[in-house]
Subunit: 365 residues, 4 copies
């Protein structure tokens, strides 16, 4: 099936393998008239660039984006925007060895089962490099959101055992430290922990929080296309995500109605919620409070510690995964999470335009 | 936007409000030749029926389903199956009061923001009765799965503070006790806890586990339409779900790669995983192990304890929600979770048919 | 595959067989706030009712529509509108005979090839009664169009050899005569011709023109979802349509550029085309002139004249189709054509809302 | 809206403007295991190449395709195939003049109305160069069809007043002559006619027939996604198409049931139709006879003859369109028509895989 597109009215189609010629995306449904240049996208891509600290792969990925269509006189034209990032740093020979066996925690086995064979070089389409297309789409979505005064930010909320309380973070620390944790002390503890992981030839997991403010209330569709449902799909579609929660999330299930319900109040003639246990969604529609979602990532499956597995024919084999791997993917995944949330929000904004006949009259009459 | 359909090749479209004339669904894309009768669907609907214990609403809902199309000589014809459940137990007068204010934890405010007004009777489209259409779809999907030897079961995994370890449950206890917890002792503790909630005019939350066995490996699509991504959307589209996790879920994020990776082994010439931390999905495709997903529900927002809120015009008001409400929705949501998983699985099975050119040759040559 | 839905943002899902319990539709994506009652839809359904003249089947079909959801206080709520028409006049015994052979010009053979068997009673899902759901959707779409000052009308433009010039019709004659031809004299000639067909146990074809005025320019999407492309799909999806053309249509292919191009002019400060060879579409977008489309219908395949065909096992057989059939379906198809055009127009209006970032600002800021 | 994708299970997404950096397509849903190389696509692209005769634009377009993803070891992997064609022959200065006014018969005015402004260079996205992406998709679809023994061919069936009888063509003449008419004598007459058009600074239209043989019966979906409905949308989505017909098409509307119905017969134990008035479709499903569809094209709107039109502000202006234009687009459109039919057929083949539960058993059990 055609499964490489996301979104209905704002649609991102991605393509490309880790060690193919290039990676890219086509972003369709972008409203006309928004200023956009390659630098707008490059800023997002640079946030997922490896090689910037001891805890990311030493692999050098320049990942320079080229816009091939959809822009005229520096503005979006309403036609599809095609984005291209050439792969430049492939060491395919690193991967020849993995052609013959199934790496634990990877998609080697499942791809073979689905398609009969696979592009094994660097994980092919299941590589983390696949997220480049998502980030391109997210960067364009960010431009749309900015025009409407909507702000989205995201950060590492935990690494292994070290986690931060979302309610007390200093947002000025976002993006400041290598781990993505917006707290100097916690960042340093996590760095030490990750160095230990590396030394043990092992890897770690963590979580990312994404928050959106300035959303109009009523965004999303009430039944199957609830705003939280669409965001959860967007986040689970990122490789390695194993759990997603909104607002109090899992903890809400242990709470009582009287604790969990957010009371409404009116301040300066504007209705709003006093608290935000809901994470900004009620009945699948944005409720005017900040949208708060958290995605949990499993540890990087590529580890150089010896592991038991089998060859394609079932023969047992002990392997030590070679190559240039991140001991944790969370810091580089922060911008991917944000990008996917951006994409969902723009799609929801477009899809929601027709909810009232009065809106159509405003545009067409 | 048209947001009342779920699935691409197997598509369930639901409609209906709590206090309208009827609730129903249209299920399209059902393969021809499957035996199906109203009783097959009634069995599923009866599992969400209230009034069966002290912890569900005393509201009597007969919810008799009528099949209106798509069946001939007792078998599916490949054309859409329309299902109708008449609403018979509406006490609209119970709800007249809530027309004027916004219930905390409900979608009253967000519907008004999106549409300008709302059908306030019993929550209208945002009522739990909306799930009747989902369960109809899930019951039909179950028939498809059965033809292919796939089994799906689900149960309450926690209620408030009482939770069960999925690895040690006795599956013969599934569906046996009022709480849906497959353990007599835990059920009794949870019942007492729920009675206390009721006495305090409060409500509780909990969680549901759903497991699918017998799935072919390689099911799902690798990028945006990953099997877990689609299931998470399906589950978050159920009102009150606040978190979803697969396999070790949230805990995986605190684990290391060497702990979390599932080693492959070959047994009797068949490759399989030794453990199932992944919850049956690798790279978004089913990996041959049981699929294990858990959804967390917030406490029922309708409580008769006094709450602060506002009228539509912003005037503060203290309310005590009247009406016949469940102190917890989890036991009745078990079949809804299962239904949504069933629907995703059948859609994925249909969508995956064309993954290899050899499959097309098998069918068309 | 799920093929019973039409439209993206305004979506009509139909279901039901000729001799099943009922026929119906679910209409999703209707903007909130539009006055709508059953009578609005009944008026449309009555236009496709048989039994009103000598040239339609004497079969009595009351076709009373019931709205089951999506309306509150007499207005659309933005949630799906479910519509139900009970089948009341089935004579299934009329059709038992046709179970065993393949009627020429019908879908009996192709259904069997696709699904392995078929509901043969009255043609099952391939019956003309399937269009009831379309007309329900079209009636609702008409209400949306009316709010925006868009008018759509349609009429029989030819029956067998008798055809009318669209440029010279008297629109006050639309819907006046049994054939649907808006000309008394031509209607009478066509009636005589149809009586002769009936006498010969044969049937006739014809064509329908549909025109929409008041459309905003720029409606439609430029590449695959061109306005004319979507309308052509909508019209070819009506059984028996064999050709569709816009504006000068087929004749344009024999014209020259200087004849076929419509010059632009400015009148009272408003740009418009001097002529309308294009039929109101340029580059797939509405061009401000009336949209003009014509659909050609083949003769009714059910004729009582003896025909050669085969049984399911290939045995040759001569058949005379019994039952109550129209000698021509065109007069009853007029409202079906109009309904499908209505549906496409509303979907295009909704989908086009986000073409400019300024539109989003108008709605959300 | 996102309108640049075509197909559900086999999906072609195109992008690019005439005078942008490049044009391309992403083809998703291609089954794994099909041999594919750039040459396979180049062969199709070369069929739409201009500059090969006096009746096509002297503009030189090399249009070399590059495959960027989705292929491994010379075979499709099941992941999206990205295709890139760099624009190399843009003379944007030719078009600066047209920035200020609306060319008759072009999409200049309608784009401005929809988006507020437009990329006017060479028509931007509404240029005929947009079809490059379609042809890339069609070439890949052709490879799928070949694996299943399905053959598709197409040819010019008329140019201005000169038309050929599809029933008597010599298929060995297809693709032999510059006009695409598969008849030497008619080709020569048409060439003379086109030279006269050119001399008069005018242009001509024509038609294209496309035929598919070897299709399994039962292909397509019965209601809205009828095979003919989908093909008609595909063809009307090609700029300049003004009419589409299947089989006897328009003429069927003047026929009688006894003439138009195709009798079934059994030959060598195989059921087939004796005649093919239907053009290979019954009830929207392929009927085992060759699929025959015809698309009619209007004359090229770009003519150097003086024309009346207006500037963006409404000022009247007389224009003579400069630039390198084809006096007719039909010969180059033949491969575009074929490509779109290919795409629909592969999508229908994939979508039809699940029509019977037995098919699922064949693949999954």
């Amino acid at each position: 099936m055609a499964g490489s597109s996301f979104g209905e009215n704002f649609r991102v189609t991605t393509w490309g393998e880790s060690h193919g010629k290039a990676i890219g995306a086509v972003v369709d449904g972008v409203p006309a008239g928004i200023p956009l240049c390659e630098e707008d996208i490059q800023v997002f891509l640079d946030r997922r660039k490896p090689g910037t600290s001891s805890i990311t792969t030493p692999r050098k990925e320049d990942d320079k984006v080229e816009i091939l269509s959809g822009i005229f006189d520096g503005k979006t034209t309403g036609t599809p925007i095609s984005l291209l990032v050439r792969n430049t740093s492939q060491h395919s020979s690193d991967y020849n060895e993995i052609a013959s066996y199934y790496r634990p925690g990877h998609a080697d086995y499942t791809y073979d089962q689905k398609y009969g064979f696979r592009d094994y070089r660097g994980g092919g389409r299941s590589s983390g490099r696949e997220t480049i297309g998502r980030v391109c789409g997210g960067a364009i979505a960010a431009k749309v959101l900015k025009e409407l005064g909507i702000e989205v930010y995201s950060y590492t909320s935990s690494i292994g055992p070290y986690s931060i309380n979302p309610d007390t973070i200093d947002t000025t620390n976002i993006g400041k430290f290598p781990t993505g944790l917006p707290d100097k002390e916690l960042n340093d503890l996590a760095l030490t922990f990750l160095e230990e992981c590396k030394a043990k030839k092992d890897s770690a997991g963590g979580s990312v929080v994404c928050t959106a403010t300035g959303l109009p209330a009523g965004l999303g569709e009430p039944v199957f296309d609830k705003l939280d449902a669409q965001i959860s799909k967007a986040l689970f579609s990122i490789g390695a995500v194993k759990a997603v929660e909104f607002g109090d999330g899992l903890e809400a299930s242990k709470s009582t109605g009287s604790e969990n319900n957010d009371a409404f109040e009116s301040v300066d003639g504007k209705i709003r919620k006093k608290t935000n246990h809901s994470g900004g969604v009620l009945g699948g529609l944005s409720d005017g409070s900040p949208l708060v979602v958290k995605a949990y990532f499993k540890p990087t499956p590529s580890i150089s510690k010896p592991q038991q597995t089998v060859k394609q024919d079932g023969t047992p084999i002990e392997v030590e995964i070679k190559g240039r791997h991140d001991p944790i993917i969370v810091p580089r995944a922060v911008v991917v999470v944000e990008s996917m949330v951006n994409i969902v929000l723009v799609d929801a904004l477009l899809s929601g335009l027709g909810s009232r006949i009065d809106n159509l009259k405003k545009i067409y009459l």
